[in-house]
């Protein structure tokens, strides 16, 4: 059976399906063009699935596969990339199909289906494929098949499907992505069609009835039946009329939709919030303590600085901060207040965290107990983990961005530099910044312009932990692009001899300049801060020369001088 849901004329669709010689049509297909904002964040989904005919539940299998792609996909996190989102949906579908097959003893071989799907997000098409359904790509008169049939031929007339959804718990899906252009057409077919219609004929049929894609799809499927197809026949054609996503003017208009509020003074009221005082003001933002007059609740208002009123890049980042706050919930991340009243101005509202920043906490605690360090690092890591789970990288972790409230709960408060994988996929005329972060806390790969990852946040967290226990920065004050290769880790035990060597080793690993050699997971780092890691300790007894080359050569030189003086005295008897 087929599905169509459209909200805009950005694509044209043609569909046709018939059960052919079979009793039941086990093919499913569909196209979904959601409305905004899902269209921007998630894009268009088009899919074809062929229930494996050897199974009794072929129809259920193909239908549930198509349905989950067209509904569950749009429920995945907006911050996820297409690849992550679709993979998660397909993994869940696969597990369900596989489970159904096991529990339903009446059915002979469970539920299985092939699947070929296309997600068009922004200007990029992402293709996912398993089994022997096909997607063809027609650009101009260039016609090519994007998919590869997962079939094995055992003899000239006998072949088996080697891969499909629901066959095995282990899932292996083909993925590729490429840029699409307006005018591109995609033809989705099941094996009942493409085994009986040659590529060239299919292409000509599509080209011939360009203004009636339904007719083209019907012509292709009916030709397959005439050519002797005994299977279900389904054909779906998708033509891109214009790329999804707002045009340039629209993007800028949205950024400047709400004006930047004027400077606020105590007592001023804005959209039902009464300002109590200014907490902080910098070149980039103002932060005010305010009270929600309706609920009496204390909140924090953050307003963008007028310095950037016509800087699309800045406004884009500012809007994303609230976007992130609404999507990631954790006790260790600042929570954004869900505002019900309409906004007249551009600002964000968040909870008021009463307490101090980690920076001022460090000022108050000259010597930090290891138990306190573990507690704080663990809580920051939980906050970071919540972000990483959503495919976000904080990028600007520093003691100034971390609050400790009166109950000792640690919260990360600033999302102004967060990189969101799912958003990065959306093409925009606004040029995104490549380098963010704060000197001394930012991972070296930013300075080199290399792509950042969760490992970059681990580096920043490790700098903070190092600073907590020693009061010093691991690589000193201010390293730059040109000095990265010369960076040498200074053992934390230089500053704090009572620090266990295994904690120092964990810090060293988290602080490696090459991200590939750092911890891959936050949890491993946090675990190693509390538990001696034997692997890291193996090289603890490295010689003085390696640990402290300056010290080694200095002592050698001093020894040589003393020896020389001694010999002089001896020889000349001075």
């Amino acid at each position: 059976m087929g599905y169509v849901a459209m909200s805009a004329g950005i694509i044209s669709i043609g569909q046709y399906s018939s059960r052919g010689a079979k009793e039941e049509n086990q093919d499913s297909y569909g196209v979904l063009v959601p409305s905004e904002p899902a269209l921007s964040y998630k894009g268009i989904v088009a899919v074809v699935a062929d229930g494996v005919s050897g199974c009794d539940g072929g129809k259920i299998a193909s239908e549930s596969c198509v349905k989950s792609l067209m509904s569950d996909y749009y429920c995945t996190a907006d911050s996820w990339t297409v690849k992550t989102s679709i993979s998660k949906v397909l993994l869940a579908t696969n597990r369900w199909l596989h489970g159904q097959g096991l529990s339903n003893r009446d059915m002979q071989r469970g539920l299985a289906t092939t699947m070929s799907a296309l997600v068009i997000k922004s200007a990029t098409a992402h293709m996912f494929h398993i089994g022997d359904t096909r997607i063809y790509h027609l650009r101009g008169d260039q016609f090519e098949c994007l998919t590869q049939d997962h079939r094995v031929w055992v003899s000239a007339d006998k072949n088996y499907l080697t891969r499909a959804l629901g066959i095995d718990l282990k899932l292996d899906i083909d993925y590729m992505n490429f840029l699409v252009e307006p005018g591109d057409q995609f033809i989705f077919t099941t094996d009942g069609v493409h085994e009986f219609v040659s590529d060239a004929v299919m292409r000509d049929l599509v080209l011939r009835s360009a203004d009636d894609l339904d007719a083209a799809a019907r012509n292709i499927a009916e030709l397959a039946l005439r050519n002797g197809s005994q299977d279900n026949v389904s054909c779906q054609i998708l033509r891109i009329n214009q790329l999804p996503g707002a045009d340039e003017q629209e993007v800028y208009r949205r950024l400047t939709e709400l004006p930047i509020p004027p400077p606020l003074s105590p007592g001023m009221k804005m959209d039902g919030y009464r300002v109590i005082r200014e907490i902080h003001a910098s070149k980039r933002t103002q932060v005010y303590l305010a009270v929600d007059e309706a609920s009496g609740e204390q909140v924090v208002l953050k307003t963008p600085s007028v310095n950037y009123e016509d800087d699309p890049l800045y406004l884009d980042l500012f809007l994303h901060e609230e976007w992130i706050g609404k999507r990631v919930k954790s006790q260790h991340l600042l929570s954004v207040v869900n505002q019900t009243r309409p906004k007249q101005f551009l600002y964000s509202v968040s909870e008021y965290v009463e307490g101090q920043t980690l920076r001022s906490w460090m000022h108050d605690h000259a010597v930090v107990e290891l138990s306190d360090m573990r507690d704080i690092a663990g809580q920051i890591a939980r906050g970071l983990h919540a972000l990483h789970k959503m495919e976000m990288v904080h990028q600007d972790l520093k003691p100034e961005n971390i609050m400790i409230d009166r109950q000792g709960t640690v919260k990360i408060i600033d999302f102004g530099s967060v990189k969101i994988a799912g958003i990065e996929e959306v093409a925009t005329p606004v040029k995104r910044l490549t380098l963010l972060g704060t000197q001394n806390y930012t991972a070296p790969e930013y300075l080199l312009g290399c792509p950042c990852s969760a490992r970059s946040d681990i580096f920043s967290l490790a700098v903070i932990v190092y600073e907590m226990v020693t009061g010093h920065l691991p690589y000193g004050d201010g390293y730059s692009e040109s000095t990265i290769n010369k960076l040498h880790y200074v053992s934390a035990r230089n500053y704090r001899p009572d620090l266990p060597a295994w904690i120092d080793k964990a810090l060293e690993k988290a602080l490696r300049t090459n991200p590939q050699r750092r911890y891959g997971e936050l949890s491993e780092f946090i675990y190693d801060l509390s538990n001696p890691n034997g692997e890291l300790m193996l090289d603890v007894s490295e010689p003085l020369l390696a640990r402290n080359p300056v010290g080694f050569w200095r002592s050698l030189a001093i020894a040589a001088i003393i020896l020389n003086i001694f010999m002089l005295v001896k020889i000349f008897g001075i």
């Binding site: 009221k269 070149k283 980039r284 103002q286």
Partner: protein, 488 residues
């Protein structure tokens, strides 16, 4: 924390402001340390009036290209290193000037010292990093106003110092003192400040190339408005060429002309590179602005700041020559002129906020035109206090005008504030060079008349072409509610 600026505070960003305006103050004192001593130097070296005027012109010439170079370097090295570097380097140039034995050496030192004037740009960047938008205007007013006062310090202190240290070489010691102060302060500055507040997020600075314009007409206007910056340098070359003072040989001056034209050509090419999109597709509304606003502010600043540079250079000599005052007395009365900066420049900004941008410029430029034309009537028979009062009136309007121009700069297109301010600043120096060149040909009264006339022309341009920038889109009601008001 503070919402208002507390001038007596010496912590946090206020500390940076104080240390930075002091650095600018010292750089300005060094830049104009020759002016009050010119009378003595003229006698010692037996300089002709043409040679004196050339020294004055050379002092502001290098500043024009130096601003551009310093602007680029500050992107790369940060304001702390740049300001220290400028102060320390200038102390050596100062020493070179103090030790000069020939007119050629004097001239070379003065020419090189011109780059000290580019210090202004560096400090502005520093203030921008440390202050929120609400405070930035005031902080920059204090920085600019109090820093400019440095030339007054030179005028007031150096002649007395030279006399006190005594002898023919008194002036050398006086200049030497400014060199030592500059050196020590340069070192102190490096130790005392940081480029950004601790823990502030670092953003890779955008490439500062040519300015963006948003229509084809503006593109042409921008090309036209870029020319005078090079024209001023060509003018200087002409002045020193065989056609003028015959300092440069004909081939040398032709070579310099060629270089100036080539650089201008390169700039045009660059402007095209940055702006070629305006010829093919419409610019989003968000980015649109009118370049004529920039052009008028440039010309306005050329008159206000240009006249200040020129007057600071020539007033001491003017008093000595016209009224027969001693060098010390002339220094003191001439020093009164830049003192006006303390109140006039911030005052111009405040007036602009309260009365309206365009109206303020109209009032102040009417004042400039009128007061300079009166000054042009001065003869040796006038009472000195009356003349001094008149110059103070000129200063009040001119420096108020500078404040008003810079109050309007951020309202044209926020994103480009730095570039627009940079261009206006360059025009200020062009004005200085232009007026001093005029002075080398004419008598002081005609010179004043020219400034007054230029003020009148700008007044007409302001009245005819300047648009009041769009107002705030929000207003605060009586009960404290912030309301959106419709902008038609």
């Amino acid at each position: 924390m503070a919402e208002k600026i507390n001038l007596l505070s010496f912590t946090g960003n206020m500390r940076v402001l104080h240390i930075t305006w002091m650095a600018f103050f010292i750089s300005f004192a060094v830049w104009f340390n020759h002016a009050p001593l010119m009378v003595i130097i003229r006698d010692v070296f037996q300089l002709s009036s043409q040679e004196v005027s050339v020294l004055l012109i050379l002092n502001v010439a290098l500043t024009i290209p130096a601003r551009i170079v310093v602007g680029m370097l500050v992107d790369r090295y940060g304001p702390r290193l740049m300001f220290s570097g400028i102060l320390i380097a200038s102390s050596f140039l100062c020493a070179f000037f103090a030790l000069a034995e020939t007119f050629q050496q004097l001239a070379a030192a003065r020419f090189l010292l011109g780059f000290v004037g580019a210090g202004f740009v560096v400090g502005i960047r520093m203030i921008g990093e440390w202050f929120s938008a609400r405070q930035a205007g005031t902080a920059q007013g204090i920085y600019g106003g109090w820093g400019n006062f440095g030339s007054a310090a030179s005028a007031l202190a150096l002649p007395t110092l030279a006399l006190w240290l005594g002898g023919d070489n008194g002036w050398r010691y006086a200049i030497g003192v400014t060199a030592v102060i500059s050196l020590l302060y340069g070192i102190y500055y490096y130790i005392a400040v940081t480029d950004t507040p601790k823990g502030s997020t670092y953003f890779k600075s955008k490439k500062m190339g040519a300015m963006e314009v948003t229509s084809k007409g503006d593109f042409v206007l921008y090309m036209v408005m870029s020319a005078p910056i090079y024209g001023a340098l060509a003018l200087l070359t002409w002045k020193l060429s065989p056609a003028g003072m015959a300092w440069f040989s004909a081939p040398l001056s032709n070579a310099i002309y060629a270089v100036i034209v080539a650089v201008y050509g390169y700039q045009i090419f660059h402007i095209y590179q940055v702006n070629k999109d305006v010829f093919s597709k419409p610019v989003p509304d968000m980015f649109r602005y009118r370049f004529k606003q920039v052009a008028i502010l440039d010309l306005a600043y050329m008159v206000t700041f240009g006249s200040e540079l020129a007057l600071v250079s020539m007033l001491p000599l003017f008093y000595v020559d016209t009224f027969g005052l001693s060098a010390v007395a002339a220094g003191i009365v001439a020093g009164a002129y830049p003192v006006m900066n303390l109140v006039a420049r911030p005052g111009g900004g405040i007036m602009s906020d309260r009365v309206g941008r365009k109206r303020t410029l109209v009032i102040l430029f009417a004042g400039i035109a009128g007061s300079f034309m009166i000054l042009a009537q001065v003869e040796s028979g006038w009472a000195v206090p009356l003349v001094v009062a008149n110059t103070l009136l000129c200063g009040l309007f001119a420096k108020g005008g500078s404040g008003a121009v810079f109050a309007m700069v951020p309202l044209i297109q926020r994103r480009m504030t730095g570039q627009i301010a940079g261009m206006a600043g360059a025009y200020g120096n062009v004005g200085g060079l232009l007026f001093l060149t005029v002075l080398s040909f004419v008598s002081a009264p005609v010179f004043f008349l020219v400034i007054g006339g230029a003020g009148a022309v700008v007044l007409m341009l302001v009245i005819l072409f300047l648009d009041e920038p769009r107002g705030q889109t929000a207003e605060v009601l009586e009960d404290g509610t912030v309301q959106l008001i419709d902008v038609a």
